[in-house]
Symmetry: C2
Subunit: 348 residues, 2 copies
């Protein structure tokens, strides 16, 4: 929405493919002991010694996953890394390396890609992951980012989705629904801007939810916290598609049921007030909004004392036998079956 | 060019994202001991014990890297895997896993993606790699495939680009230029088809060069052969951008020069005859054509007796001091500086 008309524009064609990669990655430093060889050969070479390795990959496509009219490229670079690291942390692993490939049309000048890589670099520095490979190519339309993230796990510390057992507690980090409501505010301001391009976006009072949409953080800190507390979850997943969908994944793969308590779902006050403003039910947003990148996990009841006082963690339900099904227990104490709606059907 | 008008068309929207991944990957079997957990969790989990790990990634974009008017989707899936495995073998490693992400527009029916994944599955079976992850998403235009390949190396067996030393021999596997000439034939037939859609493509006599373009093989066998012969190359790279460009990479990173002998460059008779037909110099095609996916490597002269009789390997030159520069020694015994032209400037 806010475009700098004076920005410098260097055509991508002025650098070759090798020149472009070298230019964009020249400031990246190797930080992980496991990186033997990063960018510059046919493949990266990594040495994890006796650790297990986790690998995950995600594509972000312009017009599908992001809208550059309100998503700054630096934030996009940052978010592309977060989305992938979140999947590494969801295994209870430490993130160590990423590869980043981009397909980009000629309408992007070099300076735009520098912004994108500045965001990638910031994420790599904060989360201490090494950029060890990638590919840059032209596309006929728009921008596409493909990230693969790699991580390491000591011994048998990995946590799958399939380990939840009846009576386990269902726990979530942080709060939910903010990224979705941030998107609603940004979409509304985009519509205003389309009608009157001279208007300034009115984002006052929405800073938290907009930041959750534009610059999410993957919960490395929660993996470290659980390790410090000596708690190994029985099952874990990251919340990318909405709480409902992720609970269903854990229960289906663990062959268990669960009760989720509506009144326990953690919501930021800005989510509640924005939901009121947009006349949307905040529970529906938490259940189906997605893009929260919080961790959802189950723990044995024996571990309850270790986590009960932690402000980063909320117990939102408990695991039951498979035959008892999956239910949301509402504030009115009615039990309704839990369904995954996800983004698509949200406004039906 | 040859479109089956009767093909079945199932809309992608009829399956959700999870349904689509499950459907496309349901036949894939785990073959590698190092794959602890494949598709189905937030990340794959791999266990390489004390082996080092190599990682490489490549993007293939419709309209840039492939043309679906003559590239069957099954071949495209196969080639997307080959392009990446080739980079694993170029490290002297064994390929073990791949992840495959695709962005695809709605114009592709499910049956098209089934063809694509049939090619991926064939490649995975023949080369014994496990598909352990990926992402499927919609795109506004066309098809994009992002593959990450992972491999393992025992002890200190990895081979980089930077280990070539003066007096080393420069060796190449297979023959060169065929993929480029195959593309020329396919492009010509496409032009004929545009003028007369009822014409049948005339591909008689071009089967080898067309197969090299549409269904290249990565040289796993050469890595195994070198191991059997007890030869560890001093430097190695795969030939994706043309012989010139790859020799320059090795020499630049190894800080050496080289002499390349024009009369030693291995050419298939079909390449020579097609070059005559198209009035293109076959040496130029070998030097700059690209997409051969052969391995180029340097070995110590001491290893010469071990490889000299092997029909898969050709000694095409030798390494010199950096100060002596990089030269092509022509059939007329003149020395011309070696330059990388690559695809783009090829017809200038």
């Amino acid at each position: 929405m806010i475009e700098d008309k004076n920005q410098q524009r260097t055509q991508l064609g002025d650098l070759g493919e090798f020149g472009l990669i070298d230019h964009l990655t020249k400031n990246f430093k190797i930080k992980q002991k496991s990186t033997v060889k990063g960018i510059g050969d046919d493949s990266a070479v990594l040495n994890f010694e006796n650790n297990k390795v986790v690998v995950t990959t995600d594509l972000l496509v312009e017009g599908v996953h992001f809208d550059l009219s309100y998503m700054p490229l630096k934030h996009l670079g940052y978010k592309a890394i977060m989305v992938n690291l979140s999947d590494v942390y969801a295994m209870n692993a430490k993130a160590t390396q990423v590869t980043v490939s981009i397909a980009v049309s000629n309408r992007f000048p070099l300076e735009a890609l520098e912004d994108l890589y500045a965001g990638i670099e910031t994420a790599a520095n904060i989360y201490k992951v090494d950029l060890v490979g990638g590919d840059t190519t032209s596309s006929n339309t728009g921008l596409l980012i493909s990230v693969t993230a790699i991580g390491a796990i000591n011994a048998n510390n990995e946590v799958y989705r399939n380990g939840a057992r009846p009576n386990d507690l269902l726990v979530v980090s942080g709060d939910l629904g903010a990224a979705y409501m941030g998107l609603q505010v940004l979409e509304r301001e985009k519509e205003v801007y389309k009608v009157n391009p001279n208007s300034q976006p009115d984002l006052e009072g929405y800073s938290y939810i907009i930041e959750r949409q534009l610059k999410p953080e993957a919960r490395q800190d929660i993996v470290e916290l659980l390790s410090d507390l000596n708690v190994k979850p029985t099952a874990m997943i990251d919340i990318s598609d909405g709480l409902s969908s992720e609970i269903i994944h854990i229960c289906k793969q663990s062959k268990v049921g669960c009760d989720l308590y509506e009144n326990k779902i953690p919501l930021d006050p800005q989510v509640i007030s924005t939901c009121e403003e947009f006349n949307i039910d905040s529970t529906m947003v938490a259940l189906n909004g997605g893009e929260d990148y919080e961790l959802l996990f189950t723990i044995s009841q024996d571990d309850f004392p270790k986590i009960k006082a932690n402000p980063n963690l909320t117990i939102i339900g408990h695991i039951k036998e498979e035959s008892e099904g999956l239910h949301l227990v509402t504030r009115a104490d009615t039990r309704i079956p839990l369904k995954a709606q996800g983004w698509k059907n949200f406004n039906d």
